[in-house]
Every structure is written in C-alpha cells, then in structure tokens.
Subunit: 484 residues, 4 copies
C-alpha cells in the first residue's frame, strides 16, 4: 500500500495543539475553528470539552477536526460558554479513543478537563506509584498521570491540586484545563512548548500558536511565560508563577518545521525565521546552479531566503497533488518511486538540463531525500545539490516530538559525505548550529547555559532530566488491547 504522504513519513511529528476559550456563547464552535488552524500539530485525533454551568460536554474522535467537529449536530451538543480543545499526534500504535484528549474526571472538589501538549519524562515512575495506591488508569497517555495526581492531592482547591501535581512531574508541557468556573493555561518552567494568550473583544483565549487566534479574528496579547499559570474566570485573568525559576529553553524545531509559517511564536515570525535560515545556508554553502527548488511545502520559505541571498531564480520544480487520498494499491510490476509521485511530480519543463539546488527543512531518516533526488534526475536535472535548513538531526526528542530512535536517524549514523552518497546528491550541506542561532538573531549558540532554546535534537544537550529513559522504563505499557 502506498500513501499519498510519502514525504511526511520521513518528517518529525509534533504531538499536540491546544486551545481554550472562556466566556463566549459559542465557545465550542470557536474551539473547533482554532483546532482546525492547529491541525498541523496533530492529525490523528481531536477532542473538545465544553462546560455549560452544569455538564461537561465532551466529544472526542479519531481523525481530522474538519471531519468530526464541523456539523451542527456535534457542535450543538457541545453546549457551554467555556471550552478547551486538543489535537493529537500519537507517539505509539495506540490510536484508540480512550487516549484522545481532553481527559475528564469528576473530582470530589469539582469537574476537571485537561489537554496537554508536550511529554513528561518521569511519567512511568509516577504511574507505578499511583497504581500501587489504587488509581485505575484508563489510557496510556502520560497526561492521565497529571489527572490522578490531582485527584489524590490533599489540597483543597482544584488549582492548588494542579500546582501540587505539576510540581511532581518532569518534562515539557503546555496545558489548558477547564474547571467548573474557570479555564487554566500553564507552561513548564523551561517553556519548551509554545502557548499564547489572545483576546476577542473581552473574551480570553489560549492557543498553541497565533494562527489559531487569526482564524477567529482574535488579537494576540502575549505569550504565556515559562513557568506561568494563568487562571481565566468571570473576574478576568489571574497570573501565578508557582514553580521554581528555570532557564528558557523554547524548542527551536518549532521555528524550523513545526509551527505554521504565518504564526509568530516567542516573538518571532516563523516565516521570516525560515527565510533567514535559508539565507544563512546560502552564505555558508554556496554552489553554482541554475534554479532553487523547494521541497514542498515546508521548504518554501527557506528556499526563497536561499534564492534571494544567492541570486539564483526560485522555481516551483515540484508540483503537489492537492487531492490527498490515503493509500493506493502498489502495482506489483515495479514503478520506481511511485510512492513519491502520488503527492508530488517533477515539473519536468523547468528542470531538464538544469543545475538544481533543492532546499528542505531537515533530514530525518533520509528515505524521502533519496526519492526526491532520483525524481530530479529522472526529470533531466544536470546536477542536484541538496541544502538543509537545519543542522544534522542526531538525537531523539523526549519533550513532545515523535522522533525515530537514534539508530534510525541518518545523521546519527553517517557523516555528511556518507549522507551525500546515500542520498545520491552531487553535494549536500546543512546550516551550522551557529548559523541557525544567527538566523534567530543571536551571535552564535551560547556555550553558557543561557542560549534560550532547546536544541537537544542537534546537540544532545537535554535541559530536563530523562528519568524514565535513564531507568529504562520505555513507553507506557498497557496490557489492554481494545479497538473501539
């Protein structure tokens, strides 16, 4: 079976997007729109919880937001003036409904719904402890650990219990939660994942990215700060900083690939950042060529930056088929690289006989790069030079990004020359780590601990302890297999 997403199979996957709104008569409809704008952060499942003053109305579904949260019937059931939503990319094979967020629990102190972007690194250790004292887990998500910590906390209010719970967890998280009378937004002390605050008239909104504010016409107010917890209720917004202060370590891959180019995260336009990286790349690894071609669609801004800096024409040399079916039967009679062609086709007329620079955002396993270089050559390219708008990805992420294990990462196995041979390009270059930081407006990567970004996937410098990993706990194990 061939999918029409052959390139996506060889990219990293963000695990989640979150959205919350308080005090709007159409909270669920706006949340559905916000999640649609955040669909790129997770396509496997989505959920919305709305509170109407009496009932927590929840709908969760596998699949895209637009396929499950667009009907009058569904939105009509999600009554309430407050809502939170979640869009999810699963890290494991457990794509089952009980793992889809928001999670909900009726606590003795009130109702509680939670949606989480990030990944906890001491999840296993906490889970074992909770099961021993009688907690029953329904999902295999790390998020459920937080809910049980809250349920069993001895504090008197949900907010105090939530702070109590989060003080026990390690890892990256940007969460939104909904209580009987408020919504909450919170970021981990390092601020690894994004979370921003917006306003539509008097109504506050929390969202992973600003593009979710744009779609509903809301104004961007500010980013939630690392370690900040905001409570939004009928009296407005209340900010707390209940965690010990820590270094700012925002995920730099959000700029390189995850975030939408029309979003502004941590004060920087994603589109502009990518153009700057492309320009740095052009400066660092010039090559004579006739045209610059982006690998669609994520490579486009970096390719524009490259082409402008290098003074080489930018062309759409790869045309994308917008009608994305899921899979096709592969003819057994071999057609080379058919998989790639389901979604992309070389624009033969402007490639034949040309020296081509291909610009892509990153290389993970390298399988796609092999196919696309071959596609260029089949279309008659005279030379193919691959330029990558990020440093070599050599380490796995444990903070909310689905990365292959290290031995599947091409750059962890080969040096650049070996990679060039593997991919079949005439030359291959990555932007340097310092070039990347220059593109972000720094002079270079600060060798002190204060560089501002988490770049562990390029450097192995993990800012948050990896408790489960170091203990060999691996992924959450459940002995329950249920398909519904």
């Amino acid at each position: 079976m061939l999918t029409t997403n052959p390139f996506d199979d060889d990219t990293l996957h963000e695990e989640c997007g979150v959205f919350a709104i308080y005090g709007h008569a159409e909270a669920a409809a706006l949340t559905a729109l916000g999640l649609h704008a955040l669909q790129h952060r997770g396509q496997e499942a989505a959920g919305i919880a709305a509170f109407d003053g009496k009932t927590f109305n929840v709908q969760r579904a596998l699949g895209h937001v637009g396929d499950n949260f667009s009907s009058q019937e569904v939105i009509g059931r999600l009554k309430g003036h407050a809502a939170i939503g979640h869009t999810r990319y699963a890290t494991t094979g457990d794509v089952v409904l009980r793992n889809v967020q928001p999670l909900f629990a009726e606590l003795s102190v009130g109702g509680f719904a939670l949606a989480h972007n990030g990944n906890l690194t001491n999840n296993q250790k906490l889970r074992r402890r909770l099961v021993e004292r009688g907690s029953i887990f329904q999902s295999t998500t790390d998020t459920e650990v937080v809910v049980h910590l809250i349920a069993t906390s001895l504090n008197n209010t949900v907010v105090d219990r939530m702070i109590d719970a989060l003080r026990q967890v390690e890892g990256a998280y940007s969460c939104v939660a909904m209580l009987d009378d408020a919504i909450i937004g919170v970021r981990d002390p390092n601020g690894v994942r994004p979370l921003c605050l917006g306003k539509l008239g008097d109504v506050y909104i929390l969202a992973s990215e600003t593009c979710a504010l744009d779609i509903i016409g809301a104004d961007f107010v500010r980013d939630i700060e690392p370690g900040e917890l905001v409570i939004i209720d009928k009296d407005g917004l209340h900010s707390r900083h209940p965690f010990p202060r820590a270094q700012r370590r925002f995920c730099i891959f959000e700029h390189i690939y995850f975030a939408r180019p029309d979003s502004v995260v941590e004060g920087t336009s994603v589109y502009e950042a990518r153009k700057h990286i492309g320009a740095e790349l052009a400066r660092e690894s010039h090559v004579d060529a006739d045209i610059v071609i982006p690998v669609p669609d994520s490579g486009v801004p970096a390719a524009l930056g490259y082409a402008n800096e290098a003074g080489i024409p930018f062309e759409l040399g790869i045309i994308r088929n917008h009608y994305v079916g899921r899979t096709f039967i592969e003819p057994t009679d071999q057609i080379r690289h058919l998989g790639v062609r389901l979604k992309h086709n070389a624009n033969r007329a402007n490639i034949a006989g040309k020296r081509v620079i291909l610009v892509d955002d990153s290389i993970v396993r390298g399988t796609t790069s092999v196919k696309i270089v071959a596609m260029m050559r089949a279309a008659g390219a005279r030379e193919v030079h691959m330029r990558i708008a990020s440093p070599p990805t050599t380490h796995s992420c444990f903070y909310g990004v689905n990365t292959p294990e290290r031995n599947k990462l091409l750059a962890a196995q080969m040096d650049i020359e070996e990679m060039n041979d593997f991919i079949g390009s005439d030359s291959l270059a990555f932007v340097s780590i310092d070039g990347l930081y220059r593109a972000m407006g720094k002079r270079s990567r600060n060798t002190s601990d204060d560089q501002g970004y988490c770049d562990a996937c390029f450097t192995g410098d993990y800012p948050i302890s990896l408790t489960d990993h170091d203990n060999g706990s691996g992924a959450t194990v459940s002995r329950l297999a249920e398909s519904a």
Copy 2:
C-alpha cells in the same frame, strides 16, 4: 416514529447476561455464541474480554451480539484461552460505550476484568467515598464501584481483594471476572440472579442460563450457590463461601418472563413452570370461551397450560412479523393502533365471532393490553377475556430489573375492576400469589421469611436493604456527557 417492538415497550427488562470460559483455544468464539443465546437478557450492548497470557483483548459495542461479534476480524483480535462476556440492557439514557462491560483495570497485583448482572443498592454511598479518596470513575455503572474497591483494597491477592470489595456492597449480583490466571464466578448471598456452571469436555463454563450451555454443546453441571465464589484455573474448580449465610431469594420473575423457556434455572424448567402457572390461572379464573390465544411470544407456554387445563382450543390468533425493523414514520392521517400492527396482526379468520381468552405473562403499564384487546375486537371477537400469568405488578425492582417507577405501574394505581375497564376487556384476572407459589411446587407463599424467592415486585417485601433509595440518592449522577 413507530417501533416494531410496541409490546416490548410495555414489558420489564432484564439488565444483563454473563458468560465465562477458561482453558479453551477458542474462548472468544464460544463466548460470542453464549452471549447470543443470552441476548434476551440485554440487547443494548455487549462486550467480550479475552486473555492470551499477556494481553487483555477487549471489544465492546453498542447493539446486538450478532451484529458486533460475528466477524473473523473481531473474534481474531480476541485472542486467548480464557474469556468473559456480558450483554447489557441499560437502565438509564446513558447508552455510551464507556458504560459497556466487561470493565477492565490494570491493578498493581495484576489485570482484572469484570462483568456483572444485578444491581447494587448502596452504590452511591460507596462511590462518593471512593471519589473523596481520589478514585476517578470512567462510567456511571454501579459495577465500577466494585472495581475501585478492589483497586484500593489492602489485601494481597486479587481474589482476596474481590471478596473484601463484595463484602462492602449491598444488592443483587451474579458476576464473572477474569484475572491473569483464572476466571471467577460469584453470586450474592441471597442468590437473586441466576448463574450456572457447565462443562465442555474438561473446560469449565459459567453462564446466566443453561441455554448458553446448550448452544455450544456443553453439559450443565450445577447452579452456583447463593453466596458462593468459584475460582477456575489451570488446576480446576475451587469453591469458597466467603459471605455470611443468608436466605435464598431467587427472582421469581426469571420464571415468569426473563429466562428463556428452554432454560432450566434453579432446578426448574422455565417452560414447564410457565405451563403450570397457566394451569393454575385456568383453575383460579375459569371463563367460558371458544379459543385461548397467547400474546406472542412470551405468553405461549402459559396459554398452552391454560388451554389444556380449561379444555379450550389453543390457537395462534396473533401472527408475528418476524422482520423487525427499528422504526417507521407514522402517517399523520391516523391509523388506529398502527404501532401494534408493525409486529403483530390479528388472525382474523379464527377470531371473528369467537369468545377469546387472551393469555399474557404480566401487565406493566397496560398500554399494550389496551391495544391488543382493541385489535381482537377489530378482528371481530365477540368477547375478550384477559388472563395474566403473574400477580399484579405493584412495586419497582431495585435488584437488576428495569421497572417503571411505581406511579407508572398500572396495578399500583388501580384495582382489578378499574384495570379491566382501562384495558377494555370483558373480564380480567391475574394468578394469585399463592397460585404462583403452587405452580412453583410450593403449597403457598410462606409467610415466614423462608419462601425461597424474591417476589418484591408483587409484594413489596424487599429482602435486601435499599440504602441509596432510602437516602434519596437516586441514579448515579455524572456531569460528563459524551456521545462516542
């Protein structure tokens, strides 16, 4: 909208059937067959859990067993040599998947799956206490209380924890459970709901009724005793009696209506019991007539008993349409009693001009009786005499049967003469409570506490305390509304 089940709307509903098997390579396939034979005990949902030595494979679905557990794909996923199953009739509107059994929990001492027939009468009280100590409930079923009591028990083994849990609950239950290395069957001390033991070769089976043994060709061994807990593992069957001894109070309505006529429960053939009740009824309330007609299908054995005893010909005066669709649009241009005709039609040729005795098993709201008497008259019956093979149903059940509230029970509102007028029959008679006990082989209802049956729906004599009801706790309240 008109359903093709107009008569069923006016009957009592059994809430559940359970099945378990240990040590068979095709445990899930046999469980699916057993549940199909128990379908009459609950048609809204069904579930099977199988254990393959490593994983608890669970499938739960809304709808009939045959619609959800008959494909190779589903049964193939339910790998394992042990399995338990459940078929469910929901008491409330919460027909949602998370309420469908078996429930499963991964405990610190092993996996645990549970299926329950019956109803707990102190469920609310226990639930509140558990939430206060941090337990998170996923369903609104009383069954989940048992699972949380087990999870939080301080005992060391699952079996000891289960006994600990059941000692705290009040109410009626016949449960089957599955552990890592055994299945368990248990009945409450009064033995309100049935549970029997069968054997297929060396393989033990537990089932609500013997008809579930017949379908797989298994032999009936014996009933599980009131208050008995059996453990079936690789060493065979182990019996324990961990609860204080109590009076035997088997639900007499199982004989009147719930159990299948080909089942033998508590030592008595259901079919023969019904014929005996019909014969008692004929003796107690003779009337001159030309034909005896059963209200199909549950009234047939009693009508045969009546006809034989009275010496009046038995005729199928009401023909059933076997193709049961769900609902039909009702023409606004009124057709009287159309609803009844979707499923039944008067056999006009043998009714016209006759004096008819109609035999039915019970009267709940009386709405069906009105329609069926009218149908007889429209078909030309000269006289219509209604005979009911149970005493007047005057009280609600709290032990696992879905009964309307008392003010909806016709016999709680009217005396027999008023009911006769309401129904439109020429005469109406119920079997007496003593007649009922005579049909069961007793001399009369024992006024001591030792009558052997729970007959609270006829007498208001409730053998088990009604803690939640007395405290006004009503049904389990959840503020979560989720449709999936």
Copy 3:
C-alpha cells in the same frame, strides 16, 4: 461462517411482494408499511416509487424495508399521492442495486414505473430480440424486458403499450405499475401469483396479500382476477380483461408455505388451510407418540391441526432465538450442528424420554431435517417421527419461486424410505397429493386440466410453456459486474 438462519437455507423462497396505492397524501409511508407486512415474500432488497404530479421520486435499497424505508428523511423525499413498492428475493447472485425494483423509464408518452412478482419464461428470447434492435438493458431482471417492450411499442397510450407488451410475454406475473396519472395492477391469465384489491376510505390499494391491507387498516375488497388489468385513477377503478381466457392455476405452495398465516388468499385463510393439511396428514399417517412438535415457525399451524386430529399434546419443543444476527465464526473445534442452535434450541425438559412427532411444512434439500432430528435425539427423544405437510417436492419452479435444481431436491433423488434413512427419523410421511386437495376443499386432484392450482413442484405438470428452459437459455447473462 454460520448463519442464524440455518433452517431458512433449506426452504423455498418466494421472489417478490408488490404494493400500490393511489390518491393518498401519505402514499409512500403507507407503501413502506405495506411492504413491511410483505417482507416475508422477499428480504434482499426493496424499493418505492412515488409520483407527486411532476417527479417520479424513487428510492431503492438492499436490505429490509424497516432498515431503509423508515426514516423521515427517506419518506420525506418520496413525495406524492400515488406510490408503488416492491420487496425482492433475488434468484441469482446479482444482488445489486440496479436490479432492485420498481424499474423506471421516461417514455415519449410519459413516465412509467413497474414492480413485478413472478417470473417470465420467454425472457431470454425477448431480450435478445430487443438488444438487436438497439435497446440497452441496465439490469439482469426479466422485468426490464417488459419495460423495453413498452418503450418500443407503437401504440399510443402507456396502457395500450403495456397490454401489447404483456401479450408477448409468457410466464407468471402479478404486477403493479405507476403512470403519470394512474396506477395499474395486472395478473397473468393463469393467476399463478396472488394480487388483491383493498380500500382505505376512498383510496384504492393493490397488494400481494391481505396482511398488507391489515397493517394500514384497509378493507379487503376482492382478489384481482387471473388475466385482469385494473387501472386506478382519479375517476376510480376501471377493469379490463385484455388477454385470452386461461385455466386458473394459483400456486398451491402459497398456501403451504409462502403466504403469511394471517392472510386470506384466493378466498381461503392460509392458517386454516395449513391446519386442514395437518389434520389430513394425521389421518393419513397416524403414529403412536407422546407429543407433537412444530418446526418453528412455519410448521406451527399444521402441527396444531395434526395434534388436534390425533389427540396428542402439542408442545413448543423447539425454542427460537429471536435475536437473529447474520453470521458467526464457527469454532474449528467441532460442535455438532452448532448452526442449527444459533436460531433454535431443543426444549430438553419436555423432550427427554418422549416419542416425538415433528411437523414441518416441506422438505427441500433435507439438510435441515437431518439436523433437527439429531437435535431431538440429543435432547433425549425416544422416537422421532417426521410428518410433512406437503407432498414430496420433486420438481423445480419456473414461475417465481427460487427452487434448487432438480438434482438438489431430496425427493427427486430418493424414495420415502431412503429419505427416512437419510434424515435419521424413525418414520417419515408426507401428505398425499389428494390429501392436499382435500384440505383445500376439493374431493381430490382433478385429473382433468381443471384442478385450479399449479402444483408443478409436486407433479411436474407445468401449466405455462418453458420457452427459455426448453431452448437451454438458462439465466439472464450479463457481462457487467458492478458492486455498487
């Protein structure tokens, strides 16, 4: 895979039921109800066409009437004051939507919709002729031949074209049709299939059986006569007899098995006819026994007739599971005769130790009889005597009943003693052909040509020529395979 219809697999299948109504604001809703009452005549597909003065609104679907024609949405689309409907059992594997009736054609002289019960015996010959002159067939049904004959007829009105077309066809048919301003009902000159006329207030109705009148509260007026064509329009009913007079040859199997017991066809109550056959059978083939047990459900009236005549108690010795799923996985670990048990179970308590008379309506392949006799013995029956309420079925039907080929008919291969051995019964008897006619109120089968019934399946005396069969044309061949 095991179906829950194991007995039905070994019965004959009626191919169709038809219904029509003119002049009622809720024509389609009433047609859906009528088809529901006729569901036993065809369960594979159904269709309704309604005319609203401008548009022929048609809905056709595979499956039961109740599953496809009960929603407000569907009935709401079927606007119109006139409607015709059809319920279908397919003779071949071509269960595809384009074969589902009513068929519709926009002719140069107006719209025309047709629904047909029966089978044409010169279909192939006519079809070949039509294709040669340029007609394009969309279905493989013989019914479409009639539509093309009408389309290409040179007559000026639809009615005259229809008569022209039907004069060219041979075979059995009871048809209803709908034009721009009328509905039509017509029976072939021999009157093989039933068709009756009813009235609901001033509104005329046509239906295959009276049970379809009962469900909507309509009165039975009369049967449509063999060879009669009635036109129902705004001026009322007009009767014509456009075909040469022929002998009355009503299908006697309608009385034995096809028609519903609450229907009155050709002036006779089906239920009473079956009881009479049972009584004849008891007189012809008495045997000492303890109980008479019907094979449910079609054997019940004959068994009652038998039991009354023989003075032996009638008992429900086989209990039917009303929850009919489609199929189940068969455990490979053999369970003997599991298939039978999916739908039926021996009522062991009243069989063990008894001499049993089993009464069934007919024997086709005999496979079911083998299983049910074995089921009786497994339940402890001391003797099992099989009594069949029809003569041996020795010939195939070509007039609208799906019969196996002759070499699959048990009675065409064996004499009664061999059949008794094959089935495993202690004795086997069929009602005689003269006994059957006596039960129908005749003195015996008339050896002249005037016996009034078609009994070809018992006698091989085919009243209508078998043109295609004699020419070896076999079934309609199409080279188109389309699943939708």
Copy 4:
C-alpha cells in the same frame, strides 16, 4: 455552514478527466493512479471499467479517487488487462451514481464502455429523437446520447457505429472507450479538450494530461489530433480521421487554470505559459509596490513571472491550511470573512505596512477577490493592487466547463473601474487578449478564424454551434429523482 474551499467556490470547474490503458496486467491499478493525477479535473465522482476477456468489471463512486479506488478489495474486483477511467465534476445538482461514468452497454455486437470529457451542444435534440424511437435513458448525462446512438446504429462494428454516432453530435469531446478487444481514444474535430498518448514499455495509454503519464512512469508520445480516432488493440495503434477537417480551437483556459502546472498540453508547458502570462501582465500594467503575493495555489506561477519581470520580491503572503475539512458551523456572532480563513491566512509579518501586488489567475463572480483584498488590508497592507493573469471572463462556456450564467460573471456586469471599486483594491488590471496570445507564443489574437484557441469565455466567439442553447432546451430534464 462554511466550507474550507471558499476560493474554489469562485472559480471555474473543469468537468472531467479521462484515462485508458490496454495490455497491462494491472490495468485497473494504473488507471486509479492516473485518475488520482487527474483529480483536479473533477472531484465529485470517479469510475473505472476493466475488461478481463469475459466480464466488464465496473466500479463507480461519488467522491475522490483516493477514497474509493485505493483498496485491494476494489482493485482486486476490477480484473482485466484493459481499463478506462473517468473523474467527474457535475454541472448540475444531479450528483447520483447513475450519472457517474464510464457508462456501459451490452450491445448486440459486443460490450461497450465510454468515458467522456467535454459537452455536447445538441444533446437535447438527439435525446428527444432517441426516446421517441424507444430508447430508455438511465442517466441525465449527455454522454448517454452517444451510447444510444451507437446501440441503434445500423453499422456492423462497434467502431463504425461509434463514428456514425459521433458524426451526429455537436460540441466538445475527448473520449476514451473500451470494447471487447480494444480501447479507443477520440477528440472532436476542433480539439477543444486535451487528450494525449503515452507508452509504458509496449503498453499504450490515453490520458487527458501528461501528469497522468508521469505518475505511472510512462513516456509521453504525442497528443491525439483534433478529429483523430485511435484504436489500440493487440496489434498496436491504428489511427483514423473519420470527421471533416475543422479549425484547431484548443481551450485556452486549460493553460490559464484547468491543467496542472506540471503538464505539457498541446506542446506547451502549463507552468511556463503561466509565467509568461504573468510577465506580460507585469509589462502591461506596472505599478510600484513592495511585494508580489500569489493567491494560492493557482496564482503562483503567474506571480513568479510577474515578480521576475517587475523586479519586485515574491513572497508567500497567504498561507494555506492543508487540512481541508468539508464544512464548519459558522458562529452566529459574526467574524468577518471567517470562510476565507478556514483555508488561508494572511502572513501578517510580511504584509504589515507594505504595498502589495496580488496575482490571481481569473475573476469569476469576484466574491473571493473581495474577501482576499479585505484580508490583506486587515493584515496591515498599505496598498493592494490586484493583477489578473487572464482577460475579463465575460461569457459562459458550453464546451465542458461549468461557468455561472452570464449575469453572475462580474466582468459581464461591470467595467474595470467598477470592478476595482467592487473588489476594494487600489488598482485592478487584467492581461489583454493580445497579451495572452503573446504569452502563448503568437504575435496577437488572429482576427481571422485561425487563432488556434477557443477563447469564447473572453470574446464570445463560439466556434461550435449551440443548438440546444439556441433552441432554449436548457439542461437535460429528468422526472426521476433517486438519491442512491
């Protein structure tokens, strides 16, 4: 309800794509891939017919190719070494399965399947004539007229009948057909719609565009000529020119919008043609500005051509959401232009304060242009200049493109200044008709009849007679309404 395709609602729609292959063991799988590449030519339905030497295996479905023709099950049923396929955009509301192509007919001279891109202009006249002589139409497509003309032709072979039929039709058509032993490709004498010939090894392929050859790795051989009919059978390719010679009138809108940019049609790269149009536009209507922004995605090549020629930076100022759901509930609390934002968002960071040139391919109703100009201003654009890469669309198409009626076309109602006011842009310019021809490599539009293109939508110069339209026949009328 809001769709995520707000821009598409305001574009013209191509009606069909066709594909055919002969002599390949996996004909259907390759056809599915080819249709996937042609999905942009019709998204409402698709169908494939394959011939295996005995049976014409057909599958037709509403929806995308990838959703319906990608499973092993479906492709496995489409057995055969020859196949034809069709992807369809319906012109009317009749999106029903019986209108989906390929159409199939079993003729007296063999089987015949047909798929058609284009539109016949004397369809109504021919249809009336055919119905009068007894043809029964199953669909409302003009394509069925061709099938009936073939069925009723007196010629002896299917090919001769097809030529006979096509000589009677007027309009635009590029058809592929499949017979018992061959496939056929044919273009109307003016060659309005494209059709090209490819080869995969020895296997011939016919397809609407070259991108359908690329996806399966086939080589482009040549375009089928206007008026040419090719027969591909076991002996190879045979070319005939059975129609009177006519002027070449290829649809120029294929270059402007319909065809995929990676296709080469009629000898010209679509991508290059669009860049040339963009460059002409820049030369004709220069304006000082800071950035050139394409309206995605069809405006990209023209915008690149414009930006290069004008020397103004090209930027992705509008970001597209790739996750296209169908519809969303529109919050009643008005959010201006939400519809547009479901699919696109302004890249605020590079628009704010800038003078923007927006480049789009065409203006139909103008509703989208209004929204997108407003989106630019909301993002802070200082000036917004709209440039359109085609002349004003002033006339409807009758040759296979779904155009609104003239009174809905903005350019038919307003002059350019009025349009500029309506859209809200600071300036508006279209490429001139001569500029368009220059971009296509001509000196100007030839005022003789020999300009080579059909440009009726810009000029009203219709090259083929509009028989039905001139007779006021309107669309095909059917009185049948069936939803399945």
